[in-house]
C-alpha cells in the first residue's frame, strides 16, 4: 500500500511540474509577451 501511495505522490509532483510548464507556456506560446501587453 505504501508503494502505491509513494507512486501516486511522485505522479502528483510530475503532473504539477507539467501544469507549471503549461501555465508558463500560456504567456510565451501566444506570441511576444511584450507586444501582447502593449495597448
Amino acid at each position: 500500500m505504501l508503494t502505491v501511495l509513494v507512486r501516486r505522490v511522485v505522479r502528483l509532483v510530475v503532473v504539477l511540474a507539467g501544469v507549471s510548464l503549461v501555465t508558463f507556456a500560456i504567456l510565451h506560446v501566444s506570441g511576444d509577451p511584450v507586444s501582447l501587453m502593449m495597448p
Binding site: 500500500m1 508503494t3 502505491v4 501511495l5 501516486r8 505522490v9 502528483l12 503532473v15 504539477l16 501544469v19 507549471s20 510548464l21 503549461v22 501555465t23 508558463f24 500560456i26 504567456l27 510565451h28 509577451p33 511584450v34 501582447l36 501587453m37
Partner: protein, 252 residues
C-alpha cells in the same frame, strides 16, 4: 520582467515564484494576482461541490433503481432523461431555467450570489451536465455486480434486499463511480466558468474570462494554475479513496 533572458532561465524563475505563490501583479487590478484568484476561488469551488453533490444525490438512487428494475418503465424513463440531459448544452439549460423559474414563475433570482436562493439555478444547471454520465455509470456498474455469485450468496443467506444492494453490491459498484466522479470534478470546474458567466456569479471563471479579454496574464496564469492544482489534488484524493475501497490495492 526578465523577458530579455533565455526561456529556460525565465521558466526556472517562474517555478521559483510559483512555489512561493508569486504570479506577479495584475496589470488591470494593480494588485498581486494570487490573492485576487483565491478571493474568487471559494465561490467556484462551492458551486462545483454543490453541483457534484446534487448529481450524486440524483445519480445514485436513480441509477441503482434503474439497474434493479432493468427494462422497466422507470429504467426507460431514466434513460430518456439521461439522453435529454446530455444533449442540452449548459448555457442553453441555464437560460431556459432563468426564463422559467426567474422570469415567468418569479420563484428564484435571475443572477447573483447573495442568497441561498441564488445558488439553486446555477447548481441545477451545472448538475444537469454531470448527472447523466454518473447515472449511466451507476446503472452499468450495478448491473455488472448484482448478478455476481457473492450477491446471490448474500440473498441465499436471507440478507434483506436493501442491505444486499446498498452494502454488498454498491461498494464494489462504487469503484468506477469514484473514478468518474473525480474526473467529473475537473470538468465541472471548467463548466462552472460558463455557468458563472450565464448567472453573473462572481467566481473564478468570470475573473479569468475578464482577464483574458484584458490581456491580464498574471491573473490567467494564477487562475489556470490554481484550477489545475485543485483538479490534481482531487484526483489524488480519489486515488486514496480507491485504495480504501479496493482491498486488492491495499494488499499489493
Amino acid at each position: 520582467m526578465g523577458f530579455n533572458e533565455p526561456l529556460p532561465v525565465q521558466f526556472v524563475r517562474f517555478l521559483a515564484n510559483t512555489a512561493r505563490g508569486d504570479f506577479g501583479n495584475s496589470f488591470f487590478h494593480r494588485a498581486p494576482a494570487l490573492p485576487l484568484v483565491m478571493k474568487r476561488m471559494p465561490t467556484t469551488l462551492l458551486l462545483t461541490v454543490l453541483a457534484l453533490g446534487l448529481s450524486l444525490a440524483i445519480a445514485l438512487p436513480v441509477g441503482i433503481l434503474s439497474a434493479v428494475r432493468r427494462n422497466s418503465l422507470f429504467d426507460h424513463g431514466a434513460t430518456f432523461v439521461v439522453f435529454l440531459g446530455t444533449s442540452m448544452p449548459v448555457f442553453w439549460t441555464g437560460i431556459m431555467l432563468i426564463i422559467l423559474f426567474a422570469v415567468q414563475l418569479r420563484l428564484l433570482p435571475v443572477s447573483g450570489w447573495e442568497s441561498w436562493a441564488a445558488l439553486v439555478l446555477p447548481t441545477v444547471t451545472l448538475a444537469t451536465f454531470s448527472t447523466p454520465l454518473l447515472l449511466r455509470i451507476v446503472r452499468s456498474s450495478m448491473l455488472e455486480v448484482i448478478n455476481l455469485d457473492y450477491v446471490r450468496t448474500a440473498r441465499a443467506k436471507g440478507v434483506s434486499e436493501r442491505i444486499v444492494i446498498w452494502h454488498h453490491a454498491l461498494i464494489n459498484a462504487a469503484l468506477p463511480l469514484v473514478t468518474v466522479a473525480g474526473l467529473q470534478f475537473g470538468i465541472l470546474l471548467g463548466g462552472a466558468i460558463v455557468t458563472e458567466t450565464v448567472f453573473a456569479v462572481p467566481g473564478l471563471g468570470r475573473l479569468i474570462v475578464g482577464a483574458i479579454r484584458q490581456l491580464d496574464f498574471p491573473i490567467v496564469q494564477a487562475g489556470v494554475f490554481v484550477l489545475a492544482l485543485i483538479v490534481v489534488l482531487v484526483n489524488f484524493a480519489v486515488d486514496l479513496l480507491y485504495i480504501y475501497l479496493n482491498p486488492q490495492i491495499r494488499v499489493r
